[in-house]
């Protein structure tokens, strides 16, 4: 039965249920247990922000703390996946991808194709993304577009607890490598989540609000900003359709195109930088496939092409706001 839990709890529950269901599921990462080898408490941390807390007590050595060696343990997860396990490796922050990218994009992503379809690599890389945490330039990035560029990877970024649980379960059961992006500012957000296990299929966007005037396409934390913008616009009788992509690879073009064909207006919102982003990708696709439906120029609301600043005064204006999204939507309505 459903009850309200946070996205943090939902992710924990997904890991717990999949580890219980399938003995090949193992979980590894830096401090995902915490306190290993010390004299104090085991399971001291449960991950940097406590997402895996409590799982060690239930599943013991199937949760492994790792040395600070992202290449080695992410690569080991990939190797174990190619040998019949279903590892879930936590890369604490997506910003750390630079020290282990080869094992993800040259190894995990390519095995199935490069080996002629005779290999599968069911590995999940859980990683924290996004800004608004005052974590500065190397712990705040939204690097999803780097991964969507790579064929063979699936890229997921849930916006709420229900989606996080179902998408993580699907990620674990999926036979391809999945980059599972968890927005650190959403961990505490609660929604109704069934206690039972369930999987949300990839490539299925969620229409979180229906509307006939403007389509807003986004994912992750920006879904909430877009919903705030839609609520503001509704007061002026501008009805926004807000689409939460949920998975960025594969991506649900049908839902996006259907919506734009109805509204004729599009705002793409992305917490990533503007160039070669999810927003520019969606813009390009809609221009190609639904040009005749468009009543006005597509608008993009993204972070600027700068590193993520530290100071709250700067970070607050770095992140796309509901006001900026609403302004962009109004701009599409002006023509």
């Amino acid at each position: 039965m459903a009850r309200k839990i946070s996205m943090r709890q939902a992710i924990n529950e997904a890991l717990d249920q999949e580890m219980t269901r399938d003995p090949t599921v193992i979980v590894m990462g830096e401090d995902i247990v915490g306190g290993m080898g010390g004299e104090g408490e085991k399971d001291a941390w449960g991950g940097a922000l406590g997402v895996t807390k409590g799982l060690y007590a239930k599943h013991g050595d199937r949760l492994m703390d790792t040395p600070l060696s992202e290449s080695a343990y992410i690569g080991a997860a990939v190797g174990a996946a190619a040998c019949g396990m279903r590892p879930v490796a936590e890369l604490m922050f997506i910003d750390f991808m630079g020290v282990c990218f080869d094992e993800i994009f040259n190894q995990a992503a390519k095995f199935r194709y490069m080996f002629g379809g005779k290999a599968q690599t069911p590995v999940v890389i859980r990683t924290m993304v996004g800004g608004g945490f005052r974590a500065a330039a190397q712990h705040s990035q939204m690097l999803t577009p780097l991964f969507t560029h790579i064929p063979g990877l699936k890229v997921v970024c849930p916006s709420n607890a229900y989606d996080a649980k179902g998408l993580l379960i699907q990620s674990i059961r999926d036979n391809d490598p999945v980059i599972f992006c968890e927005h650190k500012n959403l961990y505490g957000i609660e929604s109704d989540v069934p206690q039972e296990s369930y999987a949300i299929p990839f490539g299925e966007a969620n229409v979180v609000r229906e509307g006939k005037h403007v389509t807003i396409v986004t994912y992750g934390m920006m879904v909430h900003r877009a919903m705030d913008a839609a609520a503001q616009l509704a007061k002026d009788k501008v009805e926004c359709e807000v689409i939460d992509l949920r998975t960025l690879s594969p991506i649900d073009w049908d839902t996006v195109l259907d919506s734009v064909e109805n509204t004729g207006r599009l705002v793409c919102v992305d917490e990533a930088h503007p160039r070669c982003s999810i927003a520019s990708d969606v813009s390009a696709k809609v221009s190609q496939e639904a040009f005749k439906s468009l009543k006005s120029a597509i608008q993009m609301v993204t972070a600027p092409h700068t590193p993520v600043p530290f100071s709250s005064a700067l970070e607050d204006i770095y992140l796309p706001s509901a006001e900026k999204i609403a302004a962009a939507a109004r701009k599409t309505m002006a023509n």
Binding site: G79, G84, D102
Partner: protein, 327 residues
């Protein structure tokens, strides 16, 4: 028949010889075919290094996994990958091991425990740790073996893996195939420590150095290390000092090598010749028995090349299969 002084019975010795000969014939044929311009892309040959791969792989079964290098043909053959499929792959044909999608640097056969040759130097070390981890969880006594050259032994991925394997006490074995050159750069220039045994010790795992041209030295050292790993004794490093008959890749003029170096090693340190002389001198195997194997191997490689050349290319539709495609 004299008493057999070797650690393998006659059948085992003949098998080892056949494997090494198959690798040699495969690589020399590729060298010639490449010169004719029939083979696309980059090809890195294992000729001269056969004793290493063969001496290690003789201890393994299909549940043991290896992560190979860009110079992977020998590892593939020794691990039991189908030779015709390999040749087809190198020619980029649909009947290739990877259906023409991998090529020389990515031949793999997971069903044989061959996790792939690898175009990224050092990337196989974490993968072998993963294979070892999987074996440990399954409790099936399997091992994961990473091959690197002396060049990739300097990669962070490799060094991190030594530590990870030691920390997790994995049944992982790191084989450094030290042929003296990282591409054109000599090992002495690029590796600061004199001995890989020292480097292993620095990561808290035992290391052994052997003459990689001596099949029996490799076979015995590998046997001990692998047995130890299977029994839960943890990881180890094995350095095989060996030689490369050909250049880094086909087309390499090898101007960096000393004058007469290649001629000398071919005459004096050919691991197959050394092996043959030993087993014949000991009276365990007669030369005609080896020559009979030579003929069979030659026939196999002839067929493999002919089959590969005649085989159809992959259909255009194959471009978009075996991967999630969305754009």
């Amino acid at each position: 028949m004299s008493k057999n002084p070797f650690p393998l019975d006659k059948q085992g010795l003949l098998e080892a010889y056949r494997t090494m000969r198959t690798i040699r014939e495969f690589e020399e044929r590729l060298h010639n075919e490449f010169a004719k311009g029939d083979i696309p892309g980059f090809v890195h040959l294992y000729a001269g290094e056969e004793a290493s791969g063969t001496g290690i792989m003789m201890h393994l079964n299909d549940r043991d996994r290896i992560a190979s290098t860009h110079r992977g043909h020998g590892h593939c053959i020794a691990k039991g990958v189908d030779v015709k499929g390999m040749m087809g792959e190198i020619y980029g044909k649909a009947m290739g091991s990877c259906r023409g999608k991998g090529g020389s640097m990515h031949i793999a056969d997971l069903s044989k425990g061959m996790m792939g040759a690898n175009g990224i130097l050092g990337a196989g070390a974490p993968l072998a740790c993963g294979a070892a981890l999987a074996a440990k969880f399954r409790g099936d006594g399997g091992v994961g073996i990473s091959f690197v050259g002396d060049g990739a032994s300097n990669q962070g991925m490799f060094l991190e893996s030594l530590n990870l394997a030691a920390v997790w006490n994995l049944p992982a074995i790191f084989v450094v195939e030290n042929n003296g050159y990282a591409e054109s750069t000599s090992r002495d220039y690029a590796v600061a420590v004199d001995s890989y045994v020292d480097r292993a010790a620095g990561f808290g795992l035992p290391g052994v150095t052997v003459d990689g041209t001596d099949f029996f030295a490799v076979y015995e050292a590998a046997g001990e290390i692998i047995k130890r790993a299977r029994e839960g004794g943890g990881p180890a490093l094995l350095e095989c000092k060996m030689i490369r008959f050909f250049g880094h890749f086909e087309g390499d003029q090898q101007t960096y090598r000393g004058k007469g170096e290649v001629e000398h090693i071919r005459a004096q340190r050919d691991c197959i010749k050394l092996f043959s002389d030993k087993v014949v001198e000991a009276g365990v195997i007669k030369r005609p028995e080896l020559e009979a194997i030579d003929k069979e191997v030659l026939k196999l490689i002839d067929e493999a090349v002919a089959t590969a050349k005649a085989a159809p290319m992959p259909a255009p539709a194959e471009l978009l299969t075996d991967v999630y495609v969305a754009y």
